[in-house]
């Protein structure tokens, strides 16, 4: 009997991907809720990691007719001490319950693992980048190859057989290479020939033909053609994200943590939309400097607070490195709201004249201590200033945050897909 042994391991995976997508689509609202809940408890660093979520099983329940209750009879193994007619106490007899035919009812929550992409997709699903108008072809990437005719050199794998044979044929015809039939015909003629002289002539002719066909090869290296491929530059939209933060003494670790979470979210978000996302960290006290991430969040600094210095620094960096016509510029500023009183005017001026016109989006995040009730008392100097600018029509987004759990909702709020563009009335 023939036995077939087949190696299926090489078959393409993801056979049930389609079913999975259907499942996720069906459970979308449930899963999305679960994703948000999960992400709140997580470190921002791990937000991207995907992972396990739990949804209530109820929404995805597949009902069946099931029987329950009534009198039950069961046969069990392992009798040690019972004899016929004994009675077992119900409460203590968990074991007897276990053997019941009922399905596992206990599973009221359904746990499963989402991949990283699925997680981020659901996480950012109803968010949208504001003002995507500025897209610019720059920073070409060698992505996507396409056929581009033929070439005389290349790798053997790319030989174009049909083209090579075609050229060889043309060359053989042009150079009058004797065909095999011709030679065979001649040979037959010689074999049939009886006259010695004529035979001599024919032999010489045959000799000549053979020499010629040797001289003119069937396929010459000249004929060989390779398929040529060209890499096509693919337009890539790129973005730069400015993180501005006040690191003066009044900013506590908690506040920095809040800011960091916001930046991370923004980064994740931009990364989904743009191939290239650069991040520029500018921290400031009463003077601003561009620093690396580590220093930005954890480097010690002290001094007063001049917000305008950061804006000035950003403006210079934009001028030097990020041409606004080539880059989508996003900026997020985090601060506890303190600003030196005399700086207000300059800050406002810089913002409206230099920064906002080149920015896609400028978010101001005012972070507060945990407990956050202080916000209710009075607005900070920076808040007051920005609020005034915004009311004057400047495209500013601003929010106050004091708890970790508020970060996502605020972020969500800022980037929500909006049909009615009230928040961001164009200037």
């Amino acid at each position: 009997m023939p036995i077939h042994i087949i190696d299926r391991r090489l078959n393409p995976g993801g056979k049930s991907l389609e079913n999975r997508q259907r499942f996720l689509r069906r459970a979308k609202s449930l899963v999305q809720g679960a994703v948000k809940k999960t992400s709140q408890e997580r470190d921002i660093k791990d937000v991207l990691e995907g992972g396990e979520v739990t949804i209530p099983l109820d929404g995805m329940h597949e009902p069946r007719f099931r029987r329950e209750g009534g009198t039950r009879d069961m046969v069990l193994p392992g009798n040690k001490k019972f004899i016929e007619g004994d009675y077992l106490q119900r409460s203590g007899q968990g074991s007897a319950k276990n053997s019941g035919p009922g399905e596992g009812d206990s599973e009221d929550a359904f746990r499963f693992v989402l991949s990283r992409d699925e997680f981020v997709d659901l996480f950012l699903d109803d968010l949208e980048l504001p003002d995507l108008a500025k897209r610019k072809i720059a920073q070409t990437e060698s992505e996507g190859i396409q056929r581009a005719g033929y070439t005389t050199s290349g790798s053997p794998a790319n030989i174009s057989v049909s083209r090579t044979v075609k050229l060889a044929l043309a060359r053989r015809i042009a150079l009058k290479r004797p065909r095999r039939e011709e030679i065979e015909e001649l040979e037959a003629a010689i074999a049939a020939c009886t006259d010695e002289d004529e035979r001599e002539v024919l032999l010489a002719q045959l000799e000549k033909l053979k020499a010629k066909s040797k001289r003119i090869p069937f396929i010459d290296p000249l004929d060989i053609r390779y398929r040529r491929f060209e890499t096509v530059p693919k337009p890539v939209a790129q973005a730069v994200m400015f993180c501005l933060m006040d690191v003066s003494g009044s900013m506590s670790e908690h506040m920095k943590d809040l800011a960091k979470r916001f930046y991370m979210l923004l980064y994740v978000f931009l990364k989904r939309r743009y191939k290239h996302v650069e991040i520029v960290f500018i921290r400031h006290t009463d003077r601003a400097e561009e620093v690396d991430e580590q220093t930005f969040f954890y480097g010690p600094a002290s001094g007063g607070t001049l917000v305008s210095s950061a804006l000035q620094a950003m403006h210079e960096i934009v001028r030097e490195r990020f041409n606004p016509s080539d880059w989508n510029i996003y900026a997020a500023q985090a601060s506890d709201g303190d600003n030196s009183y005399s700086d207000g005017e300059l800050t406002g001026l810089l913002l409206t004249d230099k920064i906002l016109p080149v920015c896609q989006f400028f978010a101001y995040l005012e972070v507060g201590e945990s407990g956050g009730s202080a916000f209710d008392l009075s607005d900070s100097s920076l808040w007051t200033l920005y609020d005034r600018l915004r009311n004057g029509g400047a495209p500013l987004s601003m929010r106050k945050v004091s708890e970790r759990s508020e970060i996502f909702p605020v972020f969500h709020d800022l980037f929500q897909r909006r049909e009615n563009a009230q928040e961001k009335a164009a200037p």
């Binding site: 023939p2 209750g69 009534g70 009879d73 069961m74 016929e84 077992l88």
Partner: protein, 512 residues
């Protein structure tokens, strides 16, 4: 000395070939098995999970519930809560066995002997499988089903198809014919039939017919109840069949979908009735083959010990007060009874001669076993062949739990002279699907009134339907029926215990 099949744990495809050949010799020569041609496929863990979520079949139509299954299995597998099966075997011809790539050479041998010969023989020879399944046609039929569902989705929209399938799945356990019908199932013809019907509809379609004025409806003479029930084929316990044939407003493609789900449910019906026997057969066969191969010197002592380790795990039966206990292990019970039959046939004691006069001391072990494998299902198998010796061995006892009884759960019978027959009858009953599934049937349709569909659930031993689930299933049923559906639970004395009435949900968009 005979050549070893393999050394150590590693294997390659030549090893698999050698193993299969060696197993085949033992299976056909020594055990006299009769199997479908074998096809052995090596798969990865992910593919095994895929197979899990499509009820073990290599191809299946798309539905979200399979995605849910997959997500669930994957999560518990990743967390290490669940190990994957060593193999999956499909009742088809050729008989496909999936082997996990992680198995050691010993495990592959065990699995090939178990699935490719044990299960395979059972599938080919057991009367239930012969009666209810069409091993030659099943793969083609699944392919047809998959394509058909896909085409329906293209034509009528994914949501509509999903609604129909959801409803059909909910009724799947009641889409089975329990008694053999007139003709054998021929799945290949099914596919052709569906194609022909569609073609016919397209050919004879003529929009003009719509405009022909209809004559006055024929005055319907009041049908007697008997006549009406006869016309509708009532009472009918195959709910899907009834809907497919008689639901008034289903589109043809919806009927076809119900039919597909029904056929697939029917295909799995024998498996649910023969768990103990099927696994027992396969386990007995792999045990015999492995022992033989070891005797022949084709498997080393070390590998044989490895096999015995896994084998012991497979046939482990925890006792009722063990935290690991979750009912009788079909492998353990089946294997034990098969081995016991072997003992009775070869070395009977007086007790066995008294209990099993037909087979005791008959001498031909395989002859008796092959006959058993061919002609019994779990319920009859246990009722017939569970010996007093085994009941004593498992120390079986029978509990009777009557909620009315204040004193507690009564021990009704134990493994003694007085109890053997009662214990055996109860255990057999536990393996009878007729007792496990709710007994629900369509009894009447109110044709002259509001077309209400009336179902009865015959309550056995006071065990009623779970209310939430019942309502949901009835909702699906009503959606397919498109008129009200009533389910009445009646006990043995025709006393009504509970009554459900469900109205169909409005259809979002009219479907022609």
């Amino acid at each position: 000395m005979t050549e070893r099949l393999f050394e150590g744990a590693d294997w390659d495809f030549h090893t698999l070939q050698r193993i299969t050949d060696a197993c085949e010799v033992v299976a056909t020569k020594d055990l006299g098995l009769d199997v479908y041609p074998n096809q052995i496929e090596v798969i990865t863990a992910e593919q095994m999970l895929d197979a899990y979520s499509s009820v073990g079949m290599p191809l299946f139509y798309k539905h979200w519930s399979f995605g849910k299954q997959f997500a669930f299995h994957e999560a518990s597998y990743r967390k290490g809560l669940m190990g994957l099966a060593y193999e999956i075997v499909i009742n088809s011809s050729p008989c496909i066995s999936y082997l996990m790539e992680e198995n050691t050479a010993t495990m592959q041998t065990l699995v090939i002997a178990h699935a490719a010969f044990g299960h395979n023989h059972f599938f080919k020879n057991n009367y239930l499988f012969k009666q209810w399944t069409d091993a030659d046609g099943i793969l083609d039929y699944l392919d047809f089903a998959k394509t058909y569902v896909m085409q329906c989705e293209e034509r009528y929209g994914r949501v509509e198809v999903e609604r129909t399938l959801d409803a059909a799945h909910a009724l799947m356990s009641h889409g089975i014919d329990r008694y053999p019908g007139k003709k054998k199932l021929d799945l290949r013809a099914e596919e052709k039939r569906a194609g022909r019907r569609r073609q016919h509809e397209e050919e004879v379609f003529n929009d003009l017919w719509r405009t022909v004025p209809k004559g006055a409806a024929k005055s319907r003479s009041a049908l007697s109840i008997e006549r009406r029930r006869k016309l509708l084929g009532l009472p009918q316990e195959n709910l899907l069949y009834f809907l497919e044939k008689s639901a008034p407003r289903l589109a043809p493609w919806q009927r076809e979908l119900l039919r597909i789900v029904r056929h697939i449910a029917q295909y799995f019906y024998p498996q649910s009735q023969t768990k103990v026997m099927n696994e027992g057969t396969a386990t007995y066969v792999h045990y015999r083959i492995m022992t033989k191969l070891h005797e022949q010197g084709r498997i080393t002592d070390g590998n044989f010990l490895e096999f015995l380790g896994s084998h012991t795990n497979v046939v482990f039966q925890p006792e009722f007060d063990d935290p690991r206990f979750s009912g009788f292990n079909p492998y353990a019970l089946g294997f034990a009874v098969m081995q016991d039959i072997e003992r009775i046939v070869t070395k009977p004691e007086d007790e066995d001669r008294e209990w099993f006069p037909d087979i005791a001391g008959k001498g031909d072990v395989m002859g008796v076993l092959r006959d058993v494998w061919a002609n019994y299902r779990d319920e009859s198998f246990i009722a017939q062949f569970l010996s007093p010796k085994l009941m004593r061995h498992f120390r079986m006892f029978h509990l009777h739990d009557d909620p009315e009884e204040r004193a507690g759960i009564r021990v009704d019978a134990i493994h003694d002279e007085r109890g053997f027959r009662r214990v055996r009858r109860e255990l057999a009953r536990q393996h009878d699907v007729g007792f496990i599934d709710a007994n629900i049937e369509v009894v009447d349709v109110d044709l002259s009134g509001d077309r209400r569909l009336i179902l009865h659930h015959h309550v056995i031993k006071g065990s009623q339907l779970n209310e939430t689930d019942a309502k949901r299933v009835l909702q699906h049923l009503a959606d397919l029926w498109t008129y009200d559906v009533a389910l009445i639970e009646v006990d043995a004395n025709d006393k009504v215990m509970r009554e459900y009435v469900v109205s169909p949900r409005p259809i979002p968009a009219a479907v022609a």
